[in-house]
């Protein structure tokens, strides 16, 4: 368990990272560094988006699968790493 802690701490300490969260398959945030309302919003929306993205990749080529999802917006970049049961979401402010 401490490895998990370490990993998440390390990720959070990188330059520009605003927040990190882990969401399970039902969209429940397991671990988060942001406040509850924001987390709930991100969790709900990104969960659906990831499922859609995954099904898109799979529809085009059933052999393929989604490995990473990156959404770049004007203000920051949202990165989603999907797994079978969990989602790791990181919001970073890319320094340019």
């Amino acid at each position: 368990m401490t490895e998990v802690e370490e990993t998440l701490k390390r990720i959070q300490s990188h330059k520009g990272v605003i927040g990190t969260m882990v969401v399970n398959a039902e969209g429940i945030p397991i671990r988060t560094t942001l406040d509850n309302s924001t987390t709930v919003q991100y969790a709900g929306l990104l969960h659906q988006l990831t499922i859609k993205a995954k099904s898109t990749i799979r529809d085009i080529d059933p052999q393929n699968d989604l490995t990473f999802l990156r959404i770049r917006s004007k203000k920051h970049e949202i990165m989603v790493a999907p797994d079978k049961e969990y989602l790791l979401i990181v919001i970073q402010n890319p320094c340019e």
């Binding site: 990993t7 969209g27 429940i28 397991i30 709930v40 079978k84 790791l88 890319p94």
Partner: protein, 603 residues
């Protein structure tokens, strides 16, 4: 074997006009198949032909029904918790989370995902992967894409009784709102129950106007204050000037008193450049131009009567239909009149008579639009009757450039704010023309049919890309112009200014020549007395023609009578001959007379 068709024509009928008539089909030649010739052919086997095996496809275009959009928000509430966990109970949720964190899967998953994630994070920090590398380089000249414009949005008048959209004004900040003035300009034919409201539309929402302005009389013109975007000036159909503050609501904030206002609909109203930002002026077909301060709008601060004979007579004043003011030339303004004359005025003149500086006449009908070129203010565009004309202040006799006469009346026109050589015009048949005279001078560069009914007004947004045009049944269409027409081409300013100068010089030379010719004629006229005689002859021409006709017929009838008398005399001699002669004479009367008459004349 030669196939020949023979026909005959009399020599006397050469040159006669063709009289076509129907006749049934005529078989000229019939060549029957000859089976013996088939023996000369050799059969070819195999024969190569090409075929194509592909999916047959067809292209269809369908226009969807207009759909209504509404903005809605979703409130996110926590959910997804299993049944036994109550999301509000902190203990339960913490317990649940702790349980999940102990799961083997969880640990493995996080380790894996953490790895990938770190890679991306570091990537982001190391280099901007979305950096544009070739931004600094000059954009390569985009090869001529055909200029185009497409409709982005249509704003329809929500009222049942449709009114004409008579004036448009863009919001000064950001241009995301459009104020449209609606009124019925048919003289005294406004339908009963027509609403007086005018609307402000938000470009994002074409279904419902953002705000309604409620004057006591329909608005003919509407203008946002360029300094204060909450203040709107409106000119009413009954001649009053009204002012709104959009923060305060839809009712009129200030209204001028009807006794001191115009007597006719206010066709032009523009804000002035002033320190207070509260001054404006308006013009109407009653022949007056009035200056107002909206803080004290009950009375105009100044009135000028558009009497070009400089006698200040309201009876001989010309009605104003368009007004022009350029903030860079604050002392001058121009008025376009119903009589087709543009009057250039100086605001700062001491006496009212000196206010009117000069006039430019050239249109046959009211001048509906008048605007200076934003890059070269000495040249201005006027739109009226069937043409659009470009004038130069130096050339007063005639315009320096003009379009051909169109089939429909031109109702409004405007320069493009980004390109000095581009201007837009709208016509009564619902077309919008975009003219680019560095590209083509005789025709519009692009002509679009926007709608089936007449277009009444036009306004270009400050970035030169979006154009709004209002039509007769109140529909405002928003069009986007292709980038070729809204970006400044290299060298365009030079070309445009040199064209203006060249045309101005040409007009000046023509003017000078005409003056010379007029002086010469005057000189001649003064020397001769025949002038008077010429005039008298001219008036008597008609009488002379009548006289000549009478003489001619008299001669003809006398000849006829003579012939009859001779014929009667000859009757006693061989009757056949006489009858023949008579027949001939009767038939050939007309021609015979002419010949006789001509013989007489020649004799």
């Amino acid at each position: 074997m030669e196939i020949v068709y023979v026909y005959l024509k009399k020599r006397s009928e050469f040159g006669k006009q063709c009289n076509f008539s129907d006749r049934p089909a005529d078989l000229n030649i019939d060549i029957l198949p000859n089976p013996e010739l088939a023996a000369q052919f050799v059969e070819r086997n195999p024969v190569d032909t090409g075929t194509q095996c592909s999916v047959s496809m067809s292209e269809h275009e369908a226009n969807t029904e207009r759909f209504e959009m509404e903005s809605r928000g979703v409130n996110h509430v926590e959910g997804g918790w299993p049944k036994d966990v109550n999301p509000l109970e902190l203990e339960q949720t913490i317990r649940f989370r702790k349980k999940v964190e102990k799961d083997e899967n969880y640990i493995n998953a996080i380790m894996q995902l953490g790895l990938i994630m770190e890679h991306c994070i570091k990537q982001n920090n190391a280099i901007d992967i979305y950096q544009e590398y070739f931004d600094d380089e000059e954009e390569v000249e985009v090869t001529e894409e055909a200029s185009s414009a497409k409709t982005i949005n249509v704003f329809r008048d929500p009222q049942e009784i449709r009114r004409t959209a008579t004036h448009l004004s863009w919001h000064p900040d950001g241009n995301r709102k459009l104020a449209v003035a609606y009124s019925c300009l048919d003289f005294q034919r406004a339908p009963v129950g027509m609403s007086h409201e005018s609307y402000i539309w938000d470009l994002e929402n074409p279904n419902r106007p953002e705000m309604a302005l409620k004057p006591s009389s329909p608005l003919v013109t509407l203008e946002y204050n360029p300094k204060d975007s909450h203040v709107i000036l409106g000119g009413c159909y009954n001649g009053q000037i009204a002012c709104w503050d959009t923060r305060k609501g839809s009712l009129v904030a200030e209204l001028s008193t009807i006794e001191f206002s115009h007597r006719d609909p206010v066709y032009g109203s523009i804000w002035l450049q002033s320190k207070t930002g509260t001054e404006c002026f308006s013009a109407s077909t009653d022949g007056q131009v009035m200056w107002w301060d909206i803080r004290k709008i009950s009375e105009p601060t100044e009135v000028v009567i558009l009497d070009i004979t400089k006698k200040e007579q309201l009876e001989s004043a010309l009605g104003a239909i368009s007004l022009e003011f350029e903030p860079t030339l604050p002392t001058k303004f121009m008025v376009g009149t119903e009589q087709g004359i543009v009057i250039s005025c100086n605001r700062k003149a001491k006496t009212a008579a000196e206010k009117i500086v000069c006039t430019f006449s050239g249109h046959h009908g009211p001048i509906y639009a008048l605007q200076r070129n934003p890059f070269y203010p000495k040249n201005f565009l006027t739109v009226g009757d069937w043409t659009a004309r470009i004038w130069s202040e130096d050339s007063r006799e005639s315009s320096i450039m003009w379009t051909k006469y169109h089939m429909a009346y031109l109702t409004d026109g405007a320069w493009s704010p980004v390109r000095p050589a581009v201007f837009f015009t709208t016509k009564m048949d619902g077309t919008l023309d975009i003219w680019d005279f560095v590209f083509k001078q005789s025709d519009p560069a692009l002509s679009l049919k926007v709608c089936d009914e007449a277009l009444f007004c036009l306004r270009v947004q400050d970035n030169g890309c979006l154009i709004a045009c209002g039509s007769q049944n109140g529909t405002t269409t928003l069009l986007e112009v292709s980038s070729g027409l809204s970006t400044l081409q290299r060298n365009e300013r030079n070309i445009a200014s040199s064209m203006f100068e060249r045309e101005t010089r040409r007009e000046k030379i023509l003017e000078a020549r005409q003056k010379e010719m007029r002086l010469k004629e005057k000189g001649k006229a003064e020397g001769k007395d025949d002038d008077q005689r010429d005039e008298e002859l001219a008036t008597n021409l008609e009488e002379m023609v009548a006289q000549a006709e009478k003489e001619f017929f008299d001669i003809v009838f006398t000849e006829l009578k003579k012939k009859e008398v001779e014929a009667m005399a000859k009757k006693t001699k061989p009757q056949k001959k006489a009858s023949l002669e008579m027949d001939e004479e009767v038939e050939g009367d007309y021609t015979g007379e002419e010949e006789e008459v001509s013989d007489e004349k020649s004799v």
